[in-house]
């Protein structure tokens, strides 16, 4: 258990450094950009008094170092400030939006897994046949169709023409279906490729031959022997992708007006509400880092070779 502890500690330190870097980068975001952020937020024609008031409110009139210290202090004490447009606490805004994003992420993941596992398994078992080409063709198509176009086409067919699902929004039955399919199929495209290639590697192993020789059924060979060994890299990929999904599928949420974190980022950018943009990007990226860290640790728990090699 000792090397496990060391491994977790190492991952924790790495994640902490990454998040610290993200905090710096997010702080610098509005300072790196040429031009006065206050002028950009209020427009060039704003009165000097308004500009001064906003600068004072956001602390932009203080020296840069002081601003940085204040920002880091705010992050540490989880006091993220408030939206400069509505005055609402940013923490509150994010908590309001979080459930929608989490639901969408889980639903998309479910769809992706349901599509990708059978597809990848069929492609691997029937390698170089029509079924394989069809499955991989689907996968390539899924990677090549941008989410926002896929979303529009789904809306056109299933919401406008057939009327099965609502066009957009959060309310109503089945509102989650179209955005989840949009995200899920894109994810399934990546996953099924990965499942196919790892399964192909595993299927050549001796223990598969042994399992077959002792008379295991095809299903049992695939599910009990091949899948269990092939699943490790797939878990990493799912972890990475879950991070991306939780992080708010920004564009997809925009397409369906799905009121999650991603849509909030887009809306704040349009309203030039920079404090909200900064904090959301910070929280999204930190979640992403943490999910990835947990994935690494989970991977090490499942497969002792990982922690022994790296620990």
């Amino acid at each position: 258990m000792n090397e496990m502890f060391k491994y977790i500690l190492k991952k924790l330190i790495g994640a902490t450094i990454s998040i610290a870097g993200v905090v710096c980068l997010v702080f610098l975001l509005i300072h790196l950009v040429p031009g006065d952020p206050v002028e950009i937020m209020l427009g060039e024609s704003a009165r000097a008094a308004d500009k001064a008031a906003l600068a004072a409110k956001l602390g932009l009139d203080k020296p840069l170092l002081q601003q940085f210290v204040d920002f880091v202090y705010g992050v540490f004490t989880l006091n993220f400030g408030e939206s400069y447009i509505t005055g609402e606490p940013i923490t509150r805004m994010i908590l309001d939006r979080l459930p929608a994003t989490v639901w969408l992420a889980l639903a998309s993941l479910l769809i992706a897994v349901l599509i990708a596992f059978p597809l990848g398994a069929i492609a691997a078992l029937k390698k170089n046949t029509l079924a394989d080409s069809a499955a991989m063709g689907f996968s390539l198509l899924g990677v090549s169709i941008p989410n926002f176009w896929m979303g529009q086409i789904l809306i056109l067919i299933f919401a406008l023409l057939l009327g099965w699902f609502p066009v957009s929004g959060y309310q109503g039955h089945g509102a989650i279906v179209l955005p989840a399919i949009t995200l899920g199929t894109a994810l399934a495209a990546i996953l099924s490729r990965m499942i196919r290639s790892t399964l192909l590697e595993v299927l050549g192993e001796d223990y598969i031959r042994t399992a077959r020789a002792k008379g295991c059924s095809q299903t049992r060979v695939i599910v009990m022997h091949a899948m269990r060994n092939a699943i490790l890299p797939v878990i990493t990929l799912i972890g990475l992708q879950l991070g991306t999904l939780l992080a708010g599928a920004v564009i997809t949420e925009k397409v369906f007006s799905w009121p999650g974190i991603g849509l909030m980022v887009v809306e704040s950018i349009q309203k030039r509400d920079y404090p909200v943009v900064q904090i959301s990007v910070l929280l999204i990226s930190s979640t992403y880092v943490l999910v990835n860290m947990l994935t690494d640790i989970l991977y090490a728990v499942i497969d002792p070779r990982i922690r022994l090699r790296e620990g």
Partner: protein
């Protein structure tokens, strides 16, 4: 046959859009109120949009936009990323440690979130899209080239060059770079597809080119308001976008098989 020549054909078509824009008198911004939302027909092949502008012309100039962005971002990212990655892998020590940390921090931003935030703060415009996507894009090439340099910098021919007193710059240029080009080219090809999607995505969010200039992404956004009455506004640029991305990905697969590069992503 189809598999081999189809992607090349599409990419050539994409490149022709750039030349065509210079030779033929397109009127992507010509407002024609008598043809508002006109469906495709013989007088206008892809139909017209909500201002009566020709969708064919706008699709072609949109292809120009996406190509310019893809070309600039790919060149900048590959050059900067390879440079940083080579330096990092070659020098090693604390410099390498520092650069790896910086790379990790950039990789901590999921998807194109950082690009969205950057272009959001910088404001719309094609230059800002190029800057934002390059800031995000160099990281992948830096990580890849660093890993490659690490794997070959202790090979005999590099050690021999050291022993002969060859300068560091010369060693990187003539003894290391040529050997790490293959995976970089493959990654770069797939990268083009990613950037075409990213540019369209940013434009879709209204963070890309400024109107009236056209981009496939902004055309899809404009069309989304008229989805039921004029689906052709969304379908034409979308199919073009999909075909280009699909073709670039297929060409990437072909180059990878040709150069015999194993899965690039596995070489972390």
């Amino acid at each position: 046959m189809l598999r081999k020549y189809f992607p090349i054909t599409i990419v050539v078509l994409w490149l022709l859009m750039i030349v065509a824009g210079l030779i033929f008198p397109f009127n992507p911004n010509q407002i024609d109120l008598t043809h508002i939302l006109a469906t495709p027909g013989w007088d206008s092949l892809f139909g017209n949009d909500d201002l009566g502008r020709s969708i064919l012309d706008r699709t072609i100039t949109g292809g120009f936009t996406s190509f310019i962005v893809a070309a600039f971002v790919t060149v900048i990212s590959v050059v900067v990323g390879t440079f940083v990655g080579c330096i990092s892998g070659y020098i090693g020590g604390w410099v390498d440690g520092l650069i790896v940390r910086v790379i990790d921090i950039f990789l901590a931003f999921p998807g194109i979130l950082l690009a969205i935030a950057l272009s959001g703060v910088m404001g719309p415009g094609i230059e800002n899209v190029i800057i934002a996507l390059s800031i995000v894009g160099w990281v992948g090439y830096a990580r890849l080239s660093r890993a490659q340099v690490l794997s070959i910098k202790n090979r005999e021919h590099v050690l021999a060059a050291h022993a002969l007193g060859t300068g560091h710059f010369e060693i990187i240029k003539t003894h290391i770079l040529p050997l790490i080009m293959a995976p970089l080219i493959v990654e770069g090809t797939f990268g083009i597809a990613g950037i075409v999607i990213a540019e369209a995505g940013l434009s879709y969010l209204g963070l890309g080119v400024q109107p009236p200039a056209s981009s496939w992404g902004s055309m899809i956004r404009d069309g989304s308001q008229y989805l039921l009455v004029a689906p052709h506004m969304v379908i034409a640029p979308g199919i073009m976008l999909m075909l280009v991305v699909l073709s670039v990905n297929l060409i990437g697969d072909q180059i990878r098989d040709h150069l015999d590069v194993k899965d690039v992503n596995k070489r972390k």
